[in-house]
């Protein structure tokens, strides 16, 4: 009897914790399907009937820009960011992890130090630069920095991973006459796949969720991401449009949830081994 309690207590606790933790997400889903009158007056979690028209309204988007377009915009930015981070961070990481050069210590220390740098210190000058270049209200300020390995987190992550790889393969490749680029591309990079996948997943999710940078750089509704559209949707609509608003919210996080289900194994592993933040 006592043994059974001991055995089941953790499971019960975990289950209760799960209910509390996931309640807001269930609430989100339920509210997105509630008819307008029930949102304001009723405290029931479950909708009295499923109001699918919330989703039809949401799909129309904001200021004449459809949700499809908004999702496409967001995907473009997130995709560009993923490509940029994976490419540029792995290039830099390979140099730090495997190549010898003067200044390597200084540069590496600088790279690690930027991990702690609050974004706000460089924010305003970066804004001025992009403004001077006439690139504000375009996707360049959101994508270009990723091609310049500005996210030290990922450079660091990939360096750590590459340092753990056995050197033998690379050395024999070199003895066989591979130059550093060939070695990087066809030997090291494939071996680094787990770290690259982690980089890609987190870049995607963070870019998708990002609000601050997008808000600063994008003005015209046609260039909006789903997050920005969601915000202006909120500003425009009253409480009676709660249903459509949360329907749009659901749509906006759907890609991330899908991503999570597909990649959660890599995601959690990558984070555990590198101490990445979510």
């Amino acid at each position: 009897m006592n043994l059974a309690v001991k055995r089941w207590a953790p499971h019960t606790l975990a289950l209760v914790g799960l209910l509390v933790l996931l309640y807001p997400l269930v609430w989100l889903l339920a509210t997105s399907l509630k008819p307008a009158d029930q949102v304001v007056t009723s405290l029931d979690l479950w909708p009295s009937h499923l109001e699918w028209s919330n989703y039809t309204t949401a799909l129309e988007g904001v200021s004449g820009v459809t949700v499809t377009r908004l999702l496409g915009n967001t995907l473009l930015i997130a995709g560009g960011a993923v490509l940029g981070n994976v490419l540029s961070c792995s290039l830099a990481a390979y140099a730090f992890a495997r190549l010898r050069f003067r200044m390597s210590r200084v540069m590496f220390a600088f790279m690690v130090a930027t991990l702690m740098l609050p974004h706000h210190v460089v924010l305003i000058p970066q804004y001025i630069i992009f403004n001077q270049l006439g690139l504000v209200d375009s996707y360049w300020p959101l994508i270009l920095p990723k091609f310049l390995a500005t996210e030290a987190f990922f450079v660091f992550l990939i360096v750590q991973f590459m340092r753990g790889l056995p050197r033998e393969l690379e050395e024999s490749a070199r003895i066989d006459g591979c130059g550093p680029f060939r070695t990087y591309w066809s030997i090291t990079l494939p071996l680094t796949r787990p770290a690259l996948i982690t980089t890609a997943i987190f870049t995607f999710i963070w870019t998708w969720n990002d609000f601050f940078t997008q808000m600063i750089y994008l003005f015209s509704p046609e260039s909006f991401t789903i997050t920005l559209a969601l915000r202006s949707f909120v500003d425009q609509s009253s409480t009676s449009a709660y249903g459509p608003m949360f329907a749009m919210s659901v749509i906006s996080v759907l890609p991330i949830v899908l991503f999570f289900f597909v990649f959660q194994r890599y995601l959690v592993q990558g984070m555990a081994t590198t101490g990445l933040k979510g």
Binding site: L22, A92, M116, H120, I124, V253, M271, T273
Partner: protein
């Protein structure tokens, strides 16, 4: 996408760096040339220079100026800093709110993360399911969507005030209450304990079972084992999480923005530091002032990090002398 092609293709060694040929001096089967390293580093070096170092210098300069983005910056010396520290009650309000938030949210989050990690470790079956499920909030945590849900849940007539009211605690809506609004943000952050939890779990799994066996043989009970084995062995991970969470918490933005509709209200009670910085810089066009705020934030984070590193010597225990 056209951005891709701007990347220097491998082999196009435009950066040759100092091409000193001291290669023959090196031992080893191959000559080590330096230029390939600089080619690999070209994107990073460009980014570090153009998007980090130069902006840092510029923002330091701007912090001593009055600048509204349209006219040339005019030098005002220390006026921004003086105004901030002595004449701006909203600045101090934002400092106070942020500190309160850091001091409450970070420990709460870490305790919950550690508790959850210990719980998960004790689960045999279903551990990976729960791990993913507990992590789910963190995944969406930074998004606008969650902040909107939060606002609705903590608003007047929302679930949280209602449930509390049902058990006799009448708080009213948190979002509109200047005394409680900040705690709605705190709970939003605490709710996302998934990332430190996963790191704690990884740390827990690396503690050798031998240590627990030895402790049990010496007659240590569960609590004693926790205090004498788990805590010291886990202290590097605790430290790591603490530093990371602290740095992040100083910069909290989206939840505060969303819960208050961008206003930092009610009565500036959710006017976090970075929200005020944004308001000064981008809404009120006082870029110089915002830059000065950013520099004080950098200094504050630096000081606190240094402090944590200093004190860590007395409580962080590394099993192998080299650290990690």
């Amino acid at each position: 996408m056209s951005t891709v092609s701007t990347e220097a293709p491998p082999g196009a060694d435009r950066t040759d760096g100092p091409r000193r040929s001291h290669a023959p001096k090196r031992r080893g089967p191959r000559r080590d040339k330096q230029w390939p390293a600089y080619v690999f580093l070209t994107p990073w070096m460009l980014g570090a220079a153009v998007l980090t170092l130069v902006p840092m210098a510029v923002s330091l300069y701007l912090s001593f100026t009055d600048y509204n983005l349209f006219e040339a910056p005019s030098w005002v010396g220390l006026r921004n800093y003086r105004e901030m520290l002595t004449e701006d009650p909203r600045y101090w309000r934002s400092v106070g709110t942020t500190l309160l938030y850091v001091v409450v949210a970070v420990p709460l989050k870490l305790v919950l993360a550690l508790g959850a990690a210990l719980l998960l470790k004790s689960l045999g079956r279903g551990r990976s399911f729960y791990r993913s499920a507990f992590y789910a909030p963190s995944l969406l945590g930074a998004s606008m969507t969650v902040a909107l849900v939060w606002r609705a849940l903590f608003n007047d007539g929302g679930t949280v005030p209602d449930v509390l009211g049902a058990i006799g605690i009448n708080t009213g809506g948190w979002v509109g209450n200047p005394d409680l609004a900040v705690f709605a943000v705190v709970l939003l952050t605490v709710w996302q304990f998934g990332a430190p939890m996963v790191i704690f779990l990884a740390g827990l799994q690396q503690i050798s079972p031998d240590l627990y066996e030895a402790a049990a043989l010496d007659g240590a009970g569960r609590w004693r084992q926790f205090v004498s084995v788990t805590v010291p062995m886990l202290s590097p991970v605790v430290f790591f999480n603490l530093v990371l969470e602290m740095i992040q918490s100083f910069q909290v933005f989206t939840p505060a923005f969303a819960i208050s509709g961008g206003s930092g209200g009610p009565a500036d009670s959710t006017m976090f530091y970075t929200l005020y910085l944004y308001e000064r810089g981008f809404t009120a066009s006082h870029m110089g002032y915002a830059a000065a705020m950013a520099w004080l934030l950098l200094i504050a984070i630096g000081v606190v990090t240094l402090f944590l590193f200093r004190t860590s010597r007395s409580w962080v225990f590394y099993a192998d002398e080299e650290g990690r």
